[in-house]
Subunit: 216 residues, 4 copies
């Protein structure tokens, strides 16, 4: 079985805890509370802003054949920031809002992985982030009411085009797999599982707000 498929199988129970998440469901049926939308917008903006640095650090040590895909992904994520800014202005969201705990911890996780781990592990995490995100928005696309107010977002990440991009990440991951020694593979499995976990926390945070407040 391919590495990309093995990782999804190993973490299928985590995927099941949130797919579909109430956030995704209310995106699809158009009932997403405005407060939740604004929080998601601000936190995801921050996540993408920080995530760009993750991509950049990966590019800093990428094998030659992955330089172009990573440069392209940086370009794409940077363009998404423009989309966020435009929507924030229209909707009155505050993109300067401080990141909630999950947002910052997820971003720091990505950066730590990119700097510390072998390149293939960073790539596996990137695949996990994008695959998970695509799954969420594809579910929304498949269940979206007509005249859905979140059509632009749904089409951005739920489309077949984005799906093909995610498939490309999987193929390249599978091509890296034979070069992994046991220790690296084991570490890759752990870091991928953490990615799956952060995705759950991220949707929960978007839906409910600060999750991990300091106890008084």
């Amino acid at each position: 079985v391919k590495l990309s498929e093995q990782l999804l199988q190993d973490n299928a129970d985590v995927w099941r805890t949130w797919l579909p998440h109430p956030f995704t469901q209310s995106v699809a049926d158009g009932s997403l509370p405005r407060e939740v939308f604004l929080r998601w917008l601000a936190q995801d903006f921050r996540f993408v802003s920080e995530g760009l640095r993750f991509l950049a650090v990966l590019l800093g040590k990428a094998p030659a054949e992955l330089v172009d895909p990573l440069a392209g992904t940086i370009h794409a994520w940077n363009s998404e920031l423009t989309l966020f800014r435009a929507e924030a202005q229209r909707a009155g969201a505050d993109l300067a809002a401080r990141p909630l705990f999950v947002t910052q911890a997820y971003a720091d996780f990505l950066l730590a992985v990119a700097h510390r781990e072998a390149f293939a592990i960073g790539w596996a995490v990137l695949f996990g982030v994008e695959r998970s995100y695509h799954d969420a928005w594809r579910w929304a696309r498949e269940h979206a009411v007509s005249d859905n107010p979140y059509r632009a977002w749904i089409d951005n990440w739920g489309s077949d085009g984005f799906g093909a991009f995610v498939e490309g990440l999987a193929s390249r991951l599978d091509a890296l797999a034979p070069g992994l020694d046991d220790a690296t593979r084991s570490r890759l499995d752990e870091r991928f599982a953490e990615t799956a976990r952060f995705e759950v926390h991220f949707w929960e945070m978007a839906w409910r707000g600060e999750l991990f407040a300091v106890p008084k």
Copy 2:
């Protein structure tokens, strides 16, 4: 007011939420449940193991005058690992236990800070980590029953010698302060506040186990 003191003032309410923490109290009175002790031992071992990498990355970009203190701190933390290993063998703790969420997130936070932020921010975070730790163990020392079973740990981090080391970190931080521009200072404040917060989560995790389980 000195930067090191300002940071402590700004985060005094966070400190108050955990000082003294039930963990610390039960260390002092000797009632710490064995299961809790073993969990702490394994998780703190992992934290120090990963934290060594934080120190190392900081050394990689330290100004010349801080190379020697950082090299010394790496030596000290590495020696602590030997202490952990000896105690783990005596007590039957499993140091290969997987890190709980807080342990890994805290370690990744440190690594992300060291790589991404200006050096002074990493140094401020190091001060936060060590000051907080010293405060916990000093409280334990001041309230320890005679014939305390955790005397070696209490003396290691609660001693005046360790206190002087922490003071040294503060002095050097204060010496870096005049060179900080506004943006860096603001970022430093945020990252220090995150450190204070992770310390709370860390004691809670040591005391109660996994805090941030994925919801089923």
Copy 3:
């Protein structure tokens, strides 16, 4: 005087040693030996390939307002690689040729600066690289014979559009200047001077081949 101008003044004598360089002169008059052109093509391809990583690492720790310009520069450099590949195929150049000493040392210098130094120093070095390159090709543009066979390259880096891009780098550098403490400024001066020096070695290498052979 602005920081960007001060740096150019301080290194004016280095600039004078190579502007115009025989390489640039023979580009302008069309007499560039084919062997020299092929060597330059392969070595500059390698330099840009590696330099992309320098940009990426800088992006990994850039202040928020410089994320977009850096992402744009990564996109531009990556596009240049396509130009190199197309020309290499047409001209029969071997882009897989091993980097000569100067090429690799220059690339490693950039990467070391990006990782180790404060962000502003990396930005100053980027300005040095691009300004120097623009100066070389602008000279060629101003002295180019009509029907020049290197028109595509000359227009790429010698154009007013590229000049405006370089001016943008200078403006942003000048905006970073007030935030620099003395130690960082002094270090920035040293690293900029090294950049100027590498540029000389680079043109010499392109023109003459391996410069720093190991003595037998």
Copy 4:
């Protein structure tokens, strides 16, 4: 054949160009010109100061079993700086002298390798640096006149104890070898060859002064 031995065989011709180097010979017979000694002292001090950062970055991503050896090496290199400072004071050397081109380029090479390449490549380079250095000083030890004025340096790096340390680096490199895929192995070979080359340039620079001046 073991990886460590293969690397030495592949670069035996480079080793032969400098072993023994006039520097080493004049250390052994005590005729080293004072000016040369002072230059070496200042440049090697700088190299070790910067090299500490290379070790630190490697520690930042080392596999668990190599954390302790790297922490020990950092401790040792940092202690050597004390030796340099003491000798510089005695001999009147200026340790604040600016690094010559080779010194800085060698240090940047190390840092770039540590940050960019897979961990095993950084370890191979460390082996190359230390093995080469030991070979030079062991030659000096074997040919030293009695009452040699450089006895402290000769014993520091030419001793059997240092030789055993270098052997330890080789053993650990050989243990990493089976985990290397073809691309990483090929890259490791290139970086090791660059290390061998820098060693030649370093002795030449110590002996003759600035090698790669910018042409007027």
